[in-house]
Symmetry: C2
Subunit: 310 residues, 2 copies
């Protein structure tokens, strides 16, 4: 099996290996269909669409999309399209799920449905894998999009999700996770530093399998050994983080946006924690990020996402 | 008077104009002295040091620093060095203040001293001015370093400080301020979006002179008109922000670090809100950022910082 070492490799792997099938909930507008079109054309996925056949076919025609490797399942409204897309994955007719024109809460409600959803017992969280020219390996930013202000156990869940993704995609058995805060010392006035201390101790006691977590760390000493040395930080993670856990969504969102828009990263994002990868791109994402994200979902599905979960 | 339009211009202005005098509290280690040495050599400032004469002179000799344009005032310990440096500014013997080897809380306590400090009634906040190749003008990030979780009135104070700095340095009479959050809609579960709504309304009612504030905005639609259009956001600030107000310090710190380390910005930072600019660089800052920050303090002092405050 091809070794994946970067976001570029993810795209290459997903393009080269036999296509996973992606269920897309109501891709009725051009923006949500464009990236799917390219992904199908490049052999990254085949696709099955749920929704209003008339609207989907109209959108496909507008984009000059052929019907090769595409199936359409009729659905009545966005909720029905969401639950039918989820069912396709649950039944094994598709290996990954993507949000089309439906609202985010509609697709997530279908994923989380107790009887017909894709629950695994894990919480859902967003993970963004990125490469930056100054970093020697891919890093995961989590959670920049799903959990608003995760409590301690939710933070641990987010970490486990990210580590599982890293294991599936990169074959990494153990991930180093930096628990981010505004500084490197525990400060009773800053909850992010207290949570970091708790999680560090849990990790040290072996309570988070597959993860070596340490914090509080600031972004610079999480990523750069030199910055950690300057501050005299003794940490198994500093300067070598695979995972960046942000304390709350505002922190993650601003980092996500600054990395994608100002720092020129190559990235791929996916929702973790369900029985299959869920691709949930934002209108603000550019085409490369959207395509990479579909490829990440396809690669993860192909390499056993959800099956090898401990 | 030379027009300043960028961080590069700030450095040029401070190098060209008659030097402001900077009081430095105990620059006894090489790291805190290095940037001062370069700033003095380049004519950005002249300097007066407070602290242990023996230690300061030893550090100066290690760095090969001449005693030209340098005075030393003896002080006994870091607290004394801090309060003597503040007194020099208060008495008009220096126009800006810089932290040397003393601890941050020591210098700030001296600045905030009720009788001998540099209080103005404003809160203290940190502002980072930066240029990025994708942005057509300098932008201020605030507050990434001082206020942990500012409440509504503190956020307004932070905005006023940033606007004052922009007015002094760039001659900008009115600044557009983006109140950042993780999304662009008001969500009762996300305090950052509620505060953004309050501040927007205050601004609309003319309660924040010199500032047109709007939010909640995410970083992308604050800075890029195209991103705001994609989301259909109607805002006087979106795509044209001069000031980025982050909801809490973790958010500011992670943005500060990603911008300086991964996004290649040119930046200068200063503490605002006292009667004079306070330069408070971090060990993690590189030499260019430290030098720019001294230049920003010098330029702001030269252009009337603290005197023209409304």
């Amino acid at each position: 099996m091809m070794e994946i070492k970067s976001v570029d490799d993810i795209l290459k792997f997903a393009s080269d290996c036999p296509s996973a099938r992606m269920a897309v909930a109501a891709p009725e507008d051009d923006a949500s269909l464009e990236a799917v079109k390219t992904a199908v054309e490049r052999g990254i996925v085949t696709a099955v669409f749920t929704g209003c056949r008339h609207k989907i076919e109209a959108a496909m025609k507008r984009l000059g999309m052929t019907f090769e490797n595409i199936d359409i399942v009729d659905a009545d409204g966005y909720e029905d399209a969401s639950s039918k897309a989820v069912s396709l994955v649950k039944n094994g007719d598709a290996q990954l799920l993507m949000k089309g024109t439906v609202h985010t809460d509609q697709i997530l409600r279908a994923v989380l449905d107790k009887n017909n959803g894709l629950r695994t017992g894990a919480l859902l969280s967003h993970a963004l894998i990125f490469n930056h020219e100054k970093l020697s390996k891919p890093v995961v930013l989590t959670d920049a999009a799903m959990n608003i202000a995760p409590d301690l156990s939710q933070k641990v869940g987010i970490l486990k999700n990210a580590a599982h993704l890293m294991k599936v995609v990169f074959g990494k058995e153990t991930c180093k996770a930096a628990i981010l805060a505004a500084l490197e010392t525990v400060n009773p006035k800053m909850q992010a530093t207290l949570d970091a201390a708790y999680i560090s101790k849990m990790s040290q006691r072996g309570q988070i399998p597959g993860v070596i977590a340490d914090g509080p760390l600031a972004l610079d000493n999480a990523l750069f050994a030199e910055a950690a040395r300057t501050k005299g930080i003794d940490s198994p993670v500093a300067g070598d983080a695979d995972i960046l856990l942000v304390p709350f969504i505002e922190c993650g969102n601003v980092l996500y946006k600054s990395l994608t828009l100002l720092a020129g990263i190559n990235a791929a994002g996916v929702i973790c924690g369900a029985a299959a990868p869920v691709v949930l791109t934002s209108r603000a994402d550019d085409m490369r990020l959207k395509l990479n994200s579909i490829a990440l979902g396809a690669a993860a599905a192909d390499r056993g996402y959800g099956k090898i979960r401990s």
